[in-house]
């Protein structure tokens, strides 16, 4: 048991090394000239100088082992250079953006985990009924609506009724607003201004709901399948014959076998939802990883994009490992 946790933790650590190796490949094995790409594909009179500087920053004139060592040190200490697009240190930009996206993702998962489980159990218990059929059709349909398009349509609908929840906070609060944690909901609470908190929440809820659509219905569908499968097992018949109540049977026994996989699905879907969040927040004109990527693409700000790649992948690796550990806790039979 303890051995599993140790092995999983070790695997996690080696995965971080693998990720750094991947980033190294991305930076140093760029076709053509890595320094040219790192400098943001400059043009104009100062281009040669910029490429020269980038080459020195990357250590391209050093022997390979020093190059690798300095790269790893630089990356682990978070000195990722300056962003051309935002004119600020890359680490600061990416961290701030990441917090914004995380805030959105957390809220949408706080909505979708209970809702998805509830809907799934509801459908499993009424399998074949009209309510089940309607919900099943609805979940297929909702899963096939692209979230970014839904966001576009919702923005248009809001525009028609004159409600514009764009950005993360109303500009009129900005004068007294101070970023302490980077999570605006908390910051607004720290400001002790309920109206600012409500404003932040009102701007957060529409995109969060849109991002929540996919994980909710995906997991609901899974729980419906898995749970109704469990309800055919022999122990269920026996429990019924022994007079175990329906509530106990489902909540205590059958659901136990479904929950671990359901949580793992939430974990797997997180990567997918992250893309959704990045795109939906761009539509709602919120700051976040989506905006960072877009600006980075627009100006070929490669250091920024690589830093975003590293940060996001690192966190997703960590979440995956955490999900594995939780799953082990819930389902002791699982192997590495």
């Amino acid at each position: 048991m303890v051995g599993y946790y140790v092995r999983r933790a070790l695997l996690g650590l080696t995965l971080i090394l693998g990720l750094i190796a991947l980033v190294y490949l991305f930076v140093y094995v760029a076709p053509g000239n890595p320094a040219y790409v790192w400098a943001g594909k400059p043009r104009g009179p100062k281009a040669a100088e910029a490429i020269e500087l980038a080459a020195r920053e990357l250590g391209l004139d050093q022997p390979l082992h020093i190059q690798v060592a300095s790269f790893v040190c630089r990356f682990l200490t978070g000195s990722w250079g300056a962003s051309v697009a935002f004119k600020r240190p890359v680490a600061e930009v990416v961290l701030g953006a990441f917090k914004a996206t995380t805030e959105l993702l957390l809220l949408s998962y706080a909505i979708s985990i209970p809702l998805g489980l509830y809907l799934g159990i509801f459908m499993a218990l009424r399998r074949g009924s009209a309510a089940d059929k309607v919900l099943k059709f609805l979940s297929s349909l909702l899963a096939s609506i692209p979230r970014f398009w839904l966001a576009v349509v919702v923005i248009f609908a809001f525009y028609l009724i004159g409600f514009q929840p764009l950005g993360r906070i109303d500009p009129r609060y900005l004068a007294e607003f101070r970023e302490v944690t980077g999570f605006y909901l908390l910051d607004a609470l720290l400001m002790s201004r309920p109206d600012a908190f409500l404003d932040v929440l009102a701007r957060l809820i529409p995109p969060a709901l849109i991002v929540a659509v996919y994980p909710t219905f995906y997991v609901a569908k899974y729980v419906r399948f898995a749970l109704s499968e469990k309800l055919y097992e022999d122990y269920v018949v026996e429990a019924i014959s022994l007079g175990v109540s329906r509530r106990t049977l489902v909540m205590r026994y059958s659901l136990r076998g479904v929950l671990p996989a359901a949580f793992q699905l939430f974990g797997i879907n997180l990567v997918y939802s992250f893309v959704d969040a990045a795109v939906v927040e761009t539509v709602f004109m919120r700051e976040g990883i989506g905006r960072v990527l877009v600006e980075g693409l627009l100006r070929s700000d490669y250091p920024l994009i690589v830093a975003a790649f590293f940060t996001v992948s690192l966190v997703m690796l960590a979440v995956n490992s955490a999900v594995d550990l939780v799953q082990k806790k819930l389902e002791p039979r699982v192997r590495v």
Partner: protein, 298 residues
């Protein structure tokens, strides 16, 4: 001597066909595939569909939906219906490319890992653990800077992240097969490892992975479109009529020319819905316990 009963798959398909939702899904997909193939003929303005700003278009300017232009015309005056029809080609092609690429890579490596065991298994499962949680959008952004933006870059970045998922499934499946009698017997009979992997392991692994890939295809389509949406939202000129790019570009004009981004989204939803209907029916019918037609409850 060892193939999974071929009749099993045919039987599954036959049972699927009895479902109305499966037939509807197939109808949607066949119709869209036909549209994609025939788009140069079907589109009222095929040149504009491909992205050409013709003189007529320049004169026309952005028009709301009307009888002549059912979906309206975009900021360059191009007929949106033509662009959506021609766009089906780009969107569906990208999806197929990603599915085929990640299936081939994933099943190959997964079978290799599960069947060979030992060092290859350790290496491949490490790579799977590493690649599985990478969000495709950041990979696509990085690749777009390095090798330039485009349809193939987006497809490549999706293959790079999706193959791990199929490799994991194929790995688990073939690891179970490794110790089964028919594999052991054919090894004992002196068939080479490659022969056994190709003729005995692969046919038993493939159906499950393929069913999973059909189930995933809607997600792949939407993910590709999300990335194209992001790229389209900063594009200065937009010529590739991919649905995601069209929505991304049209979104800037959402308050004035809403039809530019609305109609491509409808088609995108329709295509994803078709994939989901087919995938759901397949996955339910290929799992014996879900196929049950009777209900036990109290």
């Amino acid at each position: 001597m060892s193939r999974a009963r071929p009749s099993g798959e045919r039987e599954t398909l036959r049972r699927c066909w009895r479902r109305r939702s499966f037939r509807a899904g197939v109808a949607i997909l066949v119709a869209l595939a036909l549209v994609a193939v025939l788009s140069p003929v079907l589109a009222p303005y095929p040149d504009e569909g491909e992205g050409l700003v013709t003189d007529a278009a320049r004169l026309r300017g952005p028009l709301p939906p009307s009888a002549a232009h059912p979906f309206g015309t975009d900021v360059f005056g191009r007929d949106v219906l033509s662009r959506v029809l021609v766009g089906s080609r780009y969107s569906l092609l990208q999806t197929v490319l990603v599915m085929v690429g990640s299936l081939a890579l994933g099943v190959f490596l997964g079978v290799l890992a599960g069947y060979l065991g030992g060092v290859p298994e350790a290496l491949i499962s490490y790579a799977v653990e590493l690649f599985l949680p990478l969000p495709p959008v950041v990979v696509a952004a990085a690749l777009s800077v390095v090798i330039g933006p485009g349809m193939l870059t987006v497809a490549l970045s999706l293959v790079l992240t999706w193959w791990a998922w199929y490799a994991r499934i194929a790995h688990v499946q073939s690891r179970e097969l490794r110790d089964l009698d028919f594999v052991k017997v054919s090894e004992a009979l002196g068939f080479g490892k490659i022969h056994v992997a190709l003729h005995h392991v692969l046919p038993n692994v493939a159906p499950k992975v393929v069913v999973q890939s059909v189930l995933d295809s809607a997600s792949v389509l939407l993910e590709i479109s999300s990335i194209n949406f992001l790229i389209g939202s900063v594009a200065t000129a937009f010529d590739a009529p991919d649905w995601g790019t069209m929505i991304g570009y049209g979104f800037r004009y959402i308050t004035t020319y809403w039809w530019m981004s609305f109609f491509p989204g409808l088609f995108l939803t329709l295509a994803a819905f078709g994939f989901i209907l087919v995938g759901d029916a397949l996955s339910e019918e290929s799992s014996p316990s879900l196929r049950r037609r009777w209900w036990l409850w109290f």
